[in-house]
Symmetry: C2
């Protein structure tokens, strides 16, 4: 059972120092503390445990230290920044784990970019030595890469040449789409196991700055100060992110507002979210005072945790049934507070966090059905859960209602840059406008007519209809469903983000199944052993 | 050895009738004429042989029958339009063949869309009965889908439910991106083995029109006439597309202007193109009189054929070395003619054909190195070959030159909608402008400085440099290279087209390797047999 909760006091691989507006996030991996036994985390290489801490640190910097405006991502070891994902960990992991590991690390890198773009916390990668594979991909996620110019330290993406796989954390996409490195140079670089150093790396646009070893730390500090000085919005004081502390009882994971209930025989899980109670604060002071206990933050942190738990710890669950329970009016009231105070740094961080959690849901490769039933409260922000679902079923009964709020109008963009309503009504953009123009409660039947739910089913048929739909879905090939959902969920424009999860990851997943990588004579399997890989030369 | 040449007289599965501005392209598959023995092409299902004829017909309609303005794609069999790709063919094919088969059929569907958009030949799918899987995908590639409304005839994408794979010919992407079908409805439709009929299919936007059986042919004709009447540009008379007639000598395929020379031991192939001779026509009449013998058309038809031959008949060749030979000035002169007469329908068709061939090169999953040497003529249109390459090497010598022409400015957009120069200089759009502002010859060194070639190598090192680069490349994992190239070649925007080849195909390729589809108990393997598939339920 992988635990996704941690906090600064518990970090084993990272140190976080804060000095006014500048934070130092120091990677100093404990070789002997892998997530599971069987490999050593040499040369600042990472596994999921290291990345869970990084994700936590990036998150805490936003909520707990909003005064920070520049983060120096640096190494605690001499002459090595980071050697990337640990190869022996990858080589000894199953396919589903590898894919989910890459997905999580990608989400963490995107969270770094989101912190920079949306929260004004700029990241500087201080590459003091070897920066290889996932190490360089980590640097690519930063706003700026400074490489030590010592005639020796190189950046590299050696995966293709050494391991027969792709850089798994967005590297290829960030090279040509984020940094816009010329494709033929990217081609040379990505097949050069030893990578590039100094001036050449700078000329090709692979790094932003060089500094000699003697002035390296000084140069990095200088850039951090310059970066910090460009950010001006006042923020703080921070709030403390308390633990979401799930209680595991048999096949249930119980949080304060969320329950994940696994039915192993049917290979389904029900994710239930309790909406806000009337006691939720309605003033900005009240929201700050509530902090991590504010429903909007707490509930979505619990959803986020439940999704990670599901991805890694419940691989056989094919269908997730989303339910909500509570008062529509209370849910809309919280949305009104979030709208009213959206200029406040904390409310903004909460909205951004909800955005990221909803993206995590979009990217979770399980079928998602939302059930809209008496007592449910799919309103505004919670309605996004139903809009993220592959299908939604509403019981066609007078007391079953859903509601849109102002927040459905673009507060939670998907990876494709559109709101879930815009993506849904790609054929009829005016419908999104019409729906947003009339906020408030609508019946199941009206919601069906408006296209907000897939189908409203009458009472007599409801139970059978849902049971059959879920059973049928759970019986289909999990691979075909993963591929199908990944294609249907992201209509419309593609972005660097969707390219990473759509194009790059799909190719990487394919390569991860191929004997040329993971077979007995595959390159990944044989890494570090004396034997050379034996390839099947057929090009596909 | 698969033969990609055919012509109207040799079609076994299609009939082409032309009646003024309206053509009927009739699918009437000969069950007993599969491309290779082992399966029967029942229910108008298709294999590569059927699609080679379709691609040929779509092409000939443009060049030989430019007067045609509407093409009715219909079935020659009662109650069945097309049952899609033949499952037993797929089930008994190797992975590389399946993937290349899907790629070719995708290119053919895109050629249909290109004929409509660029040449004013609108396609109408007349779905007179069962329209399943690839059959519906074929209809999706048309401008308009008319379905017979007889209470029985359904459209469907049953792949996920019945076969454990995805619709392989752009179906998912065209559903949500071209037709903009709502994602939850697409989700329902794509898991419904029996598909949808009549009114529901129309309401969901899956078809454009219904017609009762009694009025079906009439309704189709009527729409064809309406479509034809919207196109007004005068065109014709057509030219005859003669055979490109390759001569196969040992490991060589020799055409008039093109040679493909395979070095099996090194797993490389050299694709050499001879540039235009001074005798090429310079008047519009002369170009029309030359027709299929005009260098620009003939040479690129030969390249196109050589690429298909390489993809299907030479699967182990990992590196393609591109060379040209001829006079830069003559190549530029042909480009000037193409520019001067680009408003003429035939010249336009030639430019569009070159565009499609260059896209076929971009999408060929082999490493492509261009070698720019004394006597080579990478100028204008031929320079696109070097810009399409993963890398280009120029011998740094006085007599080695390349040249841009006006046609490099956007006459041959890639799948991403950008020119190859724009894609190359994504980081510096002004560089594309600068280069286009100064057409004419530049030396190898200048080309390197401008970024037009990857590297200019001096004479002493050249041979070793190239040998080592090719050997190193050919030694790497073919799968990792396929994935890497697919990611680095298409920087910048994504389009429906790049989504099909990037996102959709990558997922399909992955699914095609998975035991849940192709293992002994996989759904594709067991299709048509009494046993039910047994799935590994882990979600990835």
């Amino acid at each position: 059972m992988i635990n996704f909760e941690t906090s600064r006091e518990h970090y084993r691989h990272w140190k976080l120092h804060i000095d006014g507006e500048i934070a130092s996030l120091i990677l100093d991996v404990q070789e002997d503390a892998p997530l599971r036994p069987g490999y050593k985390l040499k040369l600042n290489s990472y596994d999921l445990g290291v990345d869970i801490e990084l994700a936590d640190a990036v998150q805490r910097l936003r909520f707990e230290h909003p005064e920070v405006r520049a983060v120096v991502l640096q190494s605690g070891k001499p002459n090595v920044f980071c050697a990337g994902a640990n190869i022996f960990m990858l080589g000894s992991s199953g396919h589903a784990f590898k894919v989910n590991f890459c997905k999580f690390t990608n989400e963490t890198r995107l969270a770094i970019e989101d912190a920079s773009r949306s929260s004004g916390q700029h990241y500087i990668a201080a590459c003091n030595g070897t920066t290889a594979g996932g190490g360089y991909e980590l640097a690519l996620a930063c706003d700026e890469i400074i490489l030590v110019d010592d005639g020796n330290s190189a950046i590299s993406l050696p995966e293709t040449a050494l391991l027969g796989v792709l850089p798994g954390t967005g590297g290829l996409t960030r090279l040509v789409d984020k940094r816009k490195v010329r494709r033929d140079r990217a081609d040379v670089f990505c097949t050069l196991a030893e990578g590039l150093r100094g001036q050449r790396a700078l000329e090709w646009g692979l790094v932003d700055r060089l500094a000699p070893r003697s002035r390296f730390n000084e140069a990095v500090r200088e850039r951090a100060r310059e970066r910090a000085s460009t950010v001006t919005a006042p923020k703080g004081p921070g709030i403390r992110l308390s633990s979401v502390d799930p209680e595991l009882r048999g096949d249930k994971a119980c949080y304060r507002y969320v329950t994940l209930d696994v039915d192993r025989a049917r290979r389904t899980a029900t994710l239930s979210v309790i909406g806000p109670d009337p006691g939720q604060p309605r003033t900005l002071d009240g929201i700050h005072a509530a902090g991590a206990d504010y429903w909007a933050l707490r509930a979505f942190r619990e959803i986020d945790h439940a999704l990670l738990h599901l991805r890694f710890n419940e691989p056989e669950i094919g269908v997730v049934i989303l339910k909500t329970q509570g008062h529509l009016e209370q849910a809309l009231r919280v949305d009104r507070s979030l709208s009213e105070f959206q200029e406040d740094w904390l409310v903004r961080e909460i909205l951004l966090f909800i955005k990221r959690t909803l993206k995590r849901l979009d990217l979770t490769s399980r079928t998602i059905f939302a059930l809209i039933e008496p007592g449910s409260c799919f309103a505004g922000t919670l309605l996004e859960l139903a809009l993220a679902a592959d299908r939604s079923y509403a019981l066609d009964q007078d007391d079953v209602r859903v509601a849109v709020s102002q927040l459905n109008g673009g507060s939670f963009p998907m990876s494709n840059g559109l709101s879930r309503l815009q993506t849904r009504f790609l054929a009829n953009p005016e419908r999104t406008r019409d729906i947003l123009a009339k906020p408030g409660l609508v019946s199941a039947r009206e919601a069906e007519q408006a296209g907000l739910v897939t189908v409203a089913v009458d009472e007599l048929d409801y139970e059978d209809h849902i049971r059959v739909a879920v059973e049928e879905r759970a019986s289909l090939s999990p691979d075909a469903l993963t591929g199908m959902e990944a294609n249907l969920r992201f209509a419309g424009p593609e972005t660097m983000e969707t390219k990473i999860f759509g194009r790059l990851s799909a190719w990487q997943n394919w390569i991860f199944t191929r004997p040329n990588a993971v077979g007995a004579s595959g390159a990944l399997t044989l890494y570090g052993k004396p034997d050379r890989p034996a390839f099947d030369w057929n090009r596909t």
